[in-house]
Assembly symmetry: C2
Homo-oligomer: 233 residues x 2
DNA sequence: ATAGAATCAGAACGACCGTTCGAATCTGAA
DNA sequence: TTCAGATTCGAACGGTCGTTCTGATTCTAT
């Protein structure tokens, strides 16, 4: 009876296909280094034909990054809903991020490596999502700290950024088939992080006076997920 | 008496100055996004004048990366020479890397972010240095493992890559004046890493059977410092 | 004073860039 | 079979790119 929007499905599927090709060349050559003619060649669609599906190269990158990030975010929310244990929730966060990184390495590379390319409208929306993602992680870590009643040797911001570093650096070295699978990798990174922020096991045991500097946040700028800014051409 | 090569000193100083400007724009806009005309504008040197000091944009990037990396390597060797304690040596490694990252953030960004741009001659030499750097770190971690007699819950390669991740991600989020100084930061990252790879402090205590998968290195490719390859335009 | 190093403006080179346009082709409902 | 709308295309536009050339000038050390 209702066969709604036969074009739209068609259109969306084709666009998704193009997005996959675009992800590939952006990952290979970088956003600036990749040309629309590269994409045309790889996808087999004529240069002009591409522009039937999106209005600009910038928008193309936006589509990729937005889709990647919102997928990660969506899965995270689903998975976090099933547990209220602080440690387990952090492991879920890591597992979710690492699994996606391993699964869709190229998408993740485009998201991480071309982080500061988009500006204004597109960039702002992504930045907001990213800040939210960062805030979630901060929340998880602070919940753990409270539950464990541990006086922190490492500041929360540093800890979270270190965690993002471990996870986001994956795209530079991970080789499927050579390196451990997402499950093992998640456990390993989780182990390092959790043992890392929990005390003990240190030689000097310089417990007091450490980290978390006195004056807190005299900074004008708000918190960021990372990634410095890049001036436009 | 001997006043040798007065030009050469001049030449080198001027080149170094240009390299600083180039580091700035490469960090700002990325290698592909930055143009020689940008560099000309920023440095105040005419477009043609620039080519008196180097033969191509590629070589420019090579100079920057090569100088940055060899400086880090040089300092590392000096500092490692003064200690033979496994933990302290790892802390020295971290301290050396983090200090430089904080001190010369832009150089470090160009080194990390534009990692896979150079190919062939230039790229190969840098890749070799990088592999050596990675090997040193592997050696330090394995020395610690042996000294501590700890059965590892985390594979050495994963651990080292996680460490590189924590350190190399710095350029994306670190803000001087807002975030801790290099000394505190080094200690924090060192704490996370060292406590992280030493056991204990975990809930489940799934000590055996974990990580370090059975078949070791069936991979054809050699070990890498990280960073995937990028196809040339 | 003078040779040679350093620098300049300006134009030009061919190559490639992102994007657009009008025409051609295809597709599915009538 | 028709035909409107969806889809695709070749060709071109105006720019910018890295690099080189010319020819002249300005520094600088002797």
């Amino acid at each position: 009876m209702d066969r709604p929007a036969t074009h739209d499905n068609r259109f969306d599927r084709r666009l998704a296909e193009i997005l996959d090709y675009a992800t590939e060349i952006f990952a290979e050559k970088g956003y600036d280094g990749a040309s629309m003619r590269d994409l045309s060649r790889l996808s087999g669609i004529s240069l002009a034909g591409l522009y039937y599906y999106f209005e600009s190269k910038e928008k193309l990158l936006y589509f990729i990054q937005q889709h990647t990030f919102s997928t990660i975010m969506l899965r995270l929310r689903e998975r976090l809903a099933v547990s209220s244990d602080p440690e387990e929730r952090i492991r879920i966060f890591i597992r979710n991020h690492v699994e996606y990184s391993v699964d869709r390495q190229k998408s993740m590379k485009v998201l991480s490596h071309e982080d500061d390319v988009l500006r204004d409208g597109f960039g702002a929306e992504l930045a907001a999502t990213k800040r939210e993602y960062y805030r979630i992680c901060i929340g998880l870590v602070e919940a753990l700290k409270k539950a464990d009643e541990l006086q922190p040797g490492v500041g929360t911001r540093t800890a979270v950024m270190a965690l993002f570093g471990m996870m986001n650096w994956l795209y530079t070295w991970y080789r499927p088939g050579v390196d451990p699978g997402a499950d093992v990798l998640s456990r390993e990174i989780g182990d390092i992080f959790l043992q890392g922020i929990r005390g003990g096991n240190l030689r000097g045991e310089t417990v007091p006076s450490s980290g978390e500097r006195g004056k807190l946040s005299t900074s004008p700028a708000g918190a960021e997920t990372g990634k410095s800014s890049r001036k436009q051409k």
